[in-house]
Symmetry: C2
């Protein structure tokens, strides 16, 4: 199941970035499960990683190699190499050194990523055997194949492509993501890979990505769980003829906005593909004291099983939303100052149901597939947005029956 | 649905505490929906209330009256009087003053409690009309009826009764509770009323209750939501011939232990009656740095929809438990030091699946109706326990279809 229009866009190639996919036989199907991304020399590369304290072996290795001028991302789907102890670390390092050997580089220039089942040994020999084929397949035109090779239980591939103009020259930004729960059944889940031909140093690139992820991937939730493997990478080849993007410049602002927009679209695609999702809920918290408070209220609503099941049932059950706001841990909130809207319908005002609210109006909104919940806290000017989906029978089904 | 043996115990009456129930017609059935509890003069009374910032009107009034030597608890089920604005506060105060009038006391001596649907006006006139009947029915033998009068969507009444001996004299403790989710569909939920004939001052009684609630009602979760109406009251009539219980005495320790045991049983009954529950999960976190950390890890596991659906499916999916521990926000946790057991079966050791673990052993435990998950963090000596239930199709069904 998925919410809304999920057509895969036309993906623009990014000069300086090539992609090769192949089937190593990690999944039980004969679909591609290896993605190799090669960056041109002098590319810069930024990344953010899961906050889960028990991050998977490849995350440890990728973190360590990020500042060693990486040239390759080696991604496998079907196995997360998480909860695999010392053997897992050995396997992650071995896959890097074997790739460096056949590609002609250094071990430290490879960033490994794994997504799939937790706790099973990584079939590293299958991956090593598949490396020459992945290298042979490298092409700038493989974004579509790449988006499919990283899928696990995703029901559709997720990609975004855009261009911007700087000083009359074009910069291309193309990205893919995967994930259908913050963590899949026993899968380690969310990955995003974004490439651009912009010229920008690593520090600035990292700043740009960190900010974008904070406002996009960190603002979505399907079930509140955080995977051991989550990662998002931003690569910049510098192949565009546009001038280098410098700190504090107007160009930086334009570029950062474009990266932000791409990240938001990739993140939204994950929620649309949320396990069992039938509705997309955009939760806007405004007039909060500060951003942290707005996010906290938004996520408390987004995580509430009672709110999520009400939306699944298309039930305008404002009591559940109000109760979630109330238990979000914000001090000195005044109930009488809070207003809640479902799309354009005011449901809560002055501590209770709005005088002009009618069940018909509420029901009309709830029957939509995409709904905006706006909570106005009436105590400041901060505003933040959180995206989530509903909680359906299918969520339970998918997660209860995953291994059977 | 409910987990385990739910026979209602023989309830001992508590000298000095009388209870009267009646049907005011608030619920759509003709079941009793009013419970009046009268405490003898000079009784002491302690209470703890919901942490939800948007607590219901009766909670505000009960908090305010707690230190005015209350004589009556007036409880209605079927309507929570929450999200009802100024009218709700007016109705709560009116019900107190009307009771004081017919019972011959002061407004401030009444503590009101409401549980049921959020956001609908309290039918206060029905309650007022029913008061004389409730007063007429006052009897020390009505604990069974009382436990049923406060039920909403509970599938069974919840009660505990025990005695202890102090200086050769008997002290009786009897309590009832209700609730089947931390918050029901759009209901405001958990209530607990405990009475004893011990002689003990209010300050000490409050200390005793606060400690007991922290270790019992605050250690259970069905869906992580906190109701706007949660409250737990402990009344002491002083009618027992046992000596007064004094601060720091051995008798206080014995009494506090007994109250704790009663609270734990009443809290456990709520989890057993958790919406759609098919399994009871006892999560023990041990060798933590401190209690706060242990509770945090326990609740993160207990709130994880992925862990809860796995238990519903009787799937020994240790990757989900490990990922939940990892995302609980504890700093400097060492994966290799963590051990996880399901009952007596070790599933995680040294950062991965235990060497001696077998799927058969895991499956044997998962097929049980009550399962203990023990997480050893290997970094301290603190130990805490959290109780929860699984997440089933019926949870979604109950909460999606509640208003239809």
């Amino acid at each position: 199941m998925a919410v809304g229009q999920c057509d895969f866009p036309k993906m623009l190639s990014v000069p300086g970035i090539t992609l090769g996919t192949t089937c190593a036989g990690i999944k039980q199907t004969i679909k591609d499960d290896i993605l190799l991304i090669q960056m041109a020399e002098k590319s810069t590369c930024a990344a953010v990683f899961t906050q889960n304290a028990f991050c998977a072996a490849p995350v440890h290795v990728a973190k360590r190699n990020l500042l060693k001028e990486p040239r390759w991302l080696l991604i496998n789907s079907g196995n997360a190499n998480a909860g695999t102890g010392e053997q897992g670390m050995h396997d992650a390092l071995l896959s890097c050194s074997e790739l460096a050997k056949v590609a002609g580089g250094l071990d430290g220039q490879v960033l490994p990523f794994s997504t799939g089942v937790i706790g099973l040994p990584l079939p590293v020999n299958k991956i090593i055997t598949a490396l020459p084929d992945a290298l042979r397949n490298l092409s700038i035109d493989n974004w579509d194949k790449a988006s499919r090779a990283i899928m696990t239980t995703d029901t559709f591939p997720k990609g975004v492509s855009t261009t911007m103009s700087l000083a009359g020259e074009t910069i291309t930004i193309t990205g893919i993501s995967k994930g259908a729960g913050m963590i899949q059944p026993n899968m380690a889940t969310m990955l995003g890979f974004i490439a651009t031909d912009a010229k920008i140093n690593q520090t600035l690139l990292q700043q740009c990505l960190s900010l974008a992820v904070e406002q996009s991937f960190n603002r979505i939730t399907v079930d509140g769980d955080t995977s051991t493997n989550d990662a998002c990478v931003l690569m910049a080849s510098g192949y565009s003829s546009a001038p280098e993007i410098l700190a504090g410049s107007e160009n930086y602002t334009l570029f950062a906005d474009a990266i932000m927009a791409v990240c938001k679209q990739l993140a939204e695609a994950i929620v649309r593909d949320g396990e069992g999702a039938t509705k997309l809920m955009r939760i806007i918290v405004e007039d909060a004291l500060n951003d942290e408070e707005a996010v906290r209220v938004g996520k408390t609503i987004a995580h509430s099983p009672l709110v999520k099941t009400a939306f699944f049932a298309s039930d305008p059950n404002w009591g559940r939303i109000l109760a979630a706001v109330g238990r979000s841990g914000i001090t000195n909130m005044v109930l009488e100052d809070v207003q809640i809207h479902l799309d354009d319908v005011c449901i809560v005002r002055k501590g209770g149901r709005a005088d002009d609210y009618t069940e018909e109006a509420g029901q009309r909104v709830m029957n939509e597939e995409e709904i905006t919940i706006t909570v106005n806290l009436g105590r400041g000017v901060a505003k933040q947005e959180v995206l989530t989906c509903d909680l359906s029978y299918d969520y339970v089904k998918i997660n209860a029956e995953y291994r059977t």
